[in-house]
Structures are given as C-alpha cells and as structure tokens.
Amino acid sequence: MADVTAARGITRRRFLAGSTALAAAGWVSGSSGGWMLEPAWAADSGPIKFGIATDMTGPIAPAGIPTWQVMQLAAKKINDAGGVAGRPIKLFLVDTASDEKVAVGNVTQLIEQSRADVVMGGITSSMRAAIKNPIVNRGKTLYMYPQLYEGQECTPYLFCTGPTPAQQCAKLIPYLISNGHKRFALPGGNFLWPQLLIKYASNLIETRGGEVVLKEFYPLDQLEYSATVAKIKSEKVDCVFNMIIPPGLQAFSKQLYESGFQKNGGVVTCVFFDENSATYLPDRELQGIYSCLDYYKSVEDPVGAQLQKEFREMFPSAQYQFTAGTGATGAYRAMKFYQAAVLKTGGDLRREAVAAAMDGIEITEAPGGGAKMIAGTRHCAMNMYVAAAENKSYKILDKAEMVDPEECRTK
C-alpha cells in the first residue's frame, strides 16, 4: 500500500518509548543498532536469522507495529513446535521509521552486520522501493513484502504476500454490478497505489457492463470535496469506489454522507477498510461500506480465530489490531511461506535455493485460509472476502477461493 505521508526521523521521545517497549518484550539491543529476539532454545547449526524491517515509529507505525507483533507470534509458534528443519528462528528488527532515508541505512545494517537470511518488511510502496535495492541487489538477500499494494513489483527474489488489485477487485466488482450498481465514481489520492488500482478497477467495471462516470485524483491533504460530491450526485452515480486515503478520506466521507448519497441508495466501497477503520469514520458513515480483503475477524476460520486468541494472549495491551489492512496477515503468510520453502530445501538457506523452493509452494495455515505462491510470479493466490461494515465489524457477503494475483506473468 503506497500511503504517502510526510516522512519523519526518530525523535528521542519515540526512541525511548520504543526502546522500553522492546526491552519489556524480551528484545535485546544488537550491535548493529537493531534489536534481536533470541529463541528459547539453540541448535548446533545456529538459528535462522529472520530480519524484520518495518515502521515502528512515524505515521505508518499503526501498520508496522501489528506486523512486527504478528511476526513474533509466528516465530514463537514455529519455535515452540521445534523450529524449521531443526533450527529455531531468531528475529532481528530494525525500524524503518516511516522515513526512506533512515530505512535504507538500517536495512543495510540488518544485511551486512546481522547477516539476515531473509528480510520481511516495508509497508508503503515508497518504502518497498527504497529498501528493495539494499536487500535484493546489494545485499543478495531474499525479500518478502507483506502489504496489499498496487501490483507490478516483479523484482527477482522479492516475494509479495499481500493482495494485488486483481485479488481485491475480481470478486468485489462483479458482486457490486450484479447487485444493480452500474454507474461508478472512482476518486483517489494522487499517487501510484490508487492510480493503478483505479485503472484496474475501471477496466474491470467496463468489461463487466458497468460505467465509469468519474475518475479523479486529489492531493493527499485535500480537505474540501464539495464539487466532487456535487458531480457524484448530478451524474447519478450509484457506487463510489473510494481510494482517497486519510486525511482526505474523512473529509470526503463526511461530505458524501451529508449529500444524502447513502440515504438515496448509493453505496461506497473502500477496498483497504478493515476493523481499524471503525476508529476513523463515525458509525453512520461507516455503516454498509464494502471492502474486499484476505481476512476479517468475522471470517469463519479456525486458524484465524486461534491466531487472534494467541495474539491477544501474547499482546494483551496491544494498541493496534491484527487485521488485513495493516500488512499483518501478509506478514504471517510470509513467515509460513519461508518456513515451507526451507523445509523443502532441507535446511539450505541460500537465497537461490529458498527462492526456487518457494516457487509454486503452498501453505495451509494462515489467517483467512491457505495460500499458494504462483510459479514464476513471486505473488500468491489467496482467499478473498467481500464484506460490508456492520456495527464496527464486517459482515462477510461473499468469498472467492484462491484468487489469482495476475501479476508478473511475462517475467
């Protein structure tokens, strides 16, 4: 997800607060400037060094922190069950601090000093673009990107475990059209993720017999949308496929709601909405908004339910939820894919061997259901759920099994 917000460095306050939390959770400061979480047991051949490079501070921290917590849960579960090919997983954490400049330095340390065997991380696309070079090209290390995003990332040795535009739209748009919504408005933030997602969605809408009557991109901090809302009304739009992100999102939602759009039968869809969206939109504006993600807490899924229970036990005072919109579900899948690939190589951690083993591999236990890495694409097929917001939760309306990511086919 390419959320673009003003980048900031680490303040002393944030550093101290973060350090205290990490130390309390059993992490020890590493010589490389990052943090390490030792497994409870050791193996003769040493641990598997799993690097996490995520936003622990800065504006993207609400997505980075749950991702980091879920990685701890995943590592603990694997280590408690005997590790991978007889070796425990040792986690190495560096803060990408919602700032690409800080991130590149920290990630380089993770590769050069901690010698991570694999790196998982990055939330925004700008962060992925910044850290992929130090990881994949200069660092010759495997990189796993967990967040839903705009697609078209086909760098060798870079595996994406979050949903792509095809996965978020393939079921949702036919669902909307079949429910009588034909005239679409697609407003979005003016950056790569909304642009590519809206491009994919509008093509699909037109192929399926719908009509795109508005497709516009706005500055990220635009707070006034009365002209857009008036056009939505005058053009008799019946579905707004919204890709405006905060802070513009709240202003747009309010003005759209005040115009009586929903009251007159219009529907809104926001494919990145998850359980966290209940905090930033009032109930009346949130009610009925459609979303499409790889997991919701309301999905009837014993694996997801068990993970939620363990997450709550491990982090009883967690400020952020374990949801799909944050990259946390993609992070869990990343760990499981890596585990499965290393088992297949028989413990060989060389990136060529692991990448080859990961090609086409399948995992069965992940939130929302299993997933399969599509051979030759470094993207995975996964279950997708069409849901609508209902009383701060999401009601599952439809499910598509093992949806193809439709990425990197020609490479």
Binding site: A17, F217, E224, A227, K231, P246, P247, E258, R284
Partner: protein
C-alpha cells in the same frame, strides 16, 4: 438553483473554517508581530480536548466549550515561559514557536497512537436552506464565525481593554508610562489568539477527524491568507482567509462548469485547482506586495 445554493453554502462554509483558523493567527501576528508557526498545533490542541471529553464519555459540546479555555491556558504558559523572552528577536521567536508546535504535535501523536479518530458533530440532522438540505454543523460554524469575527473586532476597537492591548503593542513604553502592565497584556493577547485557535480546532474536528497533523494541513493556507490579506491589520488576514477559503472549493467547482460545451474538469485534474489557489494568491501579492489591506481600523 439548488446547485447555486449548494455552491454558495460550500464556499461560505470552507471560508468560515479558514477564517476561524486565521483569526487567532491574525491577532497574534498583527497585534504582537509574532509569526506563530505553532498555531496549527493550538488548533490541534483544541481538537484534542474535544477528543479527551469524548473518551471520558462526556458530551462533545462541553469539550468544545472547554477547549478554548484549555488552549488559552496553554498559550499563556507558553508566552510566560518562552515567547516573553523573545519579543526583541522576532526570528528567534518564530523559530521557537515552530519548535513548540513540533513538540505539541509529536506528544499528541504518541497520545493518540498515531491514529485517526472520528468525532461526531453535536448536531447531525441536516437543515433546509431555501429548500436545499445542508449540513447543520457547517451552518453553525458559519454563524459562529460571523459572531466571533464581529466580537473580536468590537472587543479590540470598542472596549477599554482592547484599547490597552492596541496601545501596549503599538507603543509599549508609553503604555507602561500610563500604568498599563504590558507583560500582562502580551500574555493575554497570546492566550486570546491561542483560545481562538483552540476553538477553531474544536469546532472543525468533527468535519475532518482528529490526527496529529490536523493543524499542519491548515497552517500553509493560513499563512498564505495572512500574506494575501496583509500583515499589520486585523481585517487584512481575515479578508485573505475568506478569499483563500473561497478559492479552495471555488476552483474545484469551476472545473465542473460547462463552457461552450466543454468542461474544464475533463482535462484539468483537481490537483491543478489546488495549485491554482497559490498561483492566484502569488499574482495578487505581486501587484499588491503589502497585501489586500494595508490600512485597517485596528
């Protein structure tokens, strides 16, 4: 007709929000000569006070009533501890307000865990204006802005305390000679400007939701308003903010108006409309370097 009423209402509503934000900035900049770069964070603090009341389960409107007083107290404390020492060095004062603003913003970010929080308006039922449904809360903001603007103007021009403020700021030595405590007046004026910012934040937070960067979004446009309106007068920045506030939605609306069977919006993206606000403001300032108003009543 419905479109025209809606257009006028939207322009008026956004203008009012801009005026509310700029009012406090104008009082401090024009009366004291301090460019308060932390003004956005005073707006944020007003919004945060409302959020705290909401979290405590208390009615939102009580939070909105308390917010200006709480932010005034904060403003007074900042004036007494920092700003007071820097009246002779306006650049240092400006930089210190930036540092104070940054500190407040980052503390709020930690307190709200970097998230966005929705706050419902105290009044949600739409009202009919010439047969068109409009947001009641935006209508209330328009009314309150007009009342506040008038109140501030009358307070500064018609009351003896207002006269003392103007006197203390124009000629501090003479004011002190006349028995006016200038340090008390400065602290009051700064706190008054902060209170206005706090009220602006409290009133507009239901429209935009609370986030640590709430004030930053308005600060650039607020300074543009001051530059456009003219520094040194009370009315100038208010006029400037009304113009900027009208241009923001105005240019977006212009894109939708058909002209010779051709709609500008088909070829001009909204981002251009946003930039156009700055271009127009800069062109005006080019021809009127001191701003729209150089001589005001205050």
């Amino acid at each position: 007709m419905e479109v025209v009423i809606k257009l006028l209402f939207d322009i008026l509503a956004f203008s009012s929000i801009m005026v509310l934000v700029v009012l406090g900035l104008a009082v401090i900049a024009s009366m004291m000569g301090i460019f308060n770069l932390g003004h956005g964070e005073f707006v944020l603090m007003g919004a945060y006070v409302v959020f705290v009341f909401k979290q405590l389960g208390l009615p939102i409107w009580i939070g909105m009533t308390v917010a200006p007083f709480a932010v005034a107290a904060l403003g007074a404390a900042i004036e007494v501890t920092f700003i007071r020492r820097l009246y002779e060095a306006p650049i240092t004062a400006m930089l210190s307000t930036f540092a104070i603003g940054l500190t407040i913003r980052e503390i709020v970010r930690v307190l709200i865990h970097g998230q966005y929080y929705a706050i419902e308006e105290p009044v949600t039922t739409p009202i009919a204006l010439f047969g068109v449904d409009v947001s009641a809360w935006r209508a209330i903001i328009i009314l309150l802005t007009v009342m506040l603007m008038t109140g501030c103007f009358l307070f500064l021009t018609r009351t003896s305390f207002g006269l003392q403020i103007r006197g203390a700021l124009e000629n501090p030595s003479l004011a002190r000679g006349c028995g006016v405590s200038t340090s008390r007046i400065y602290a009051f004026t700064f706190a008054f400007g902060a209170a206005l910012a706090g009220l602006a934040g409290a009133l507009m937070v239901p429209l935009f939701s609370l986030s640590a960067d709430l004030g930053v979004h308005f600060l650039v446009q607020a300074f543009l308003s001051v530059m456009l309106g003219g520094v040194g007068t009370f009315e100038g920045p208010i006029l400037g903010s009304a113009v900027v506030g009208a241009m923001v939605p105005g240019f977006q609306w212009l894109r939708e108006i058909p002209l010779f069977g051709f709609t500008i919006g088909d070829v001009v993206q909204p981002i251009v409309a946003e930039v156009l606000v700055f271009i127009v403001a800069l062109v005006i300032v080019k021809f009127r370097p001191s701003g729209l108003l150089t001589k005001g009543r205050i």
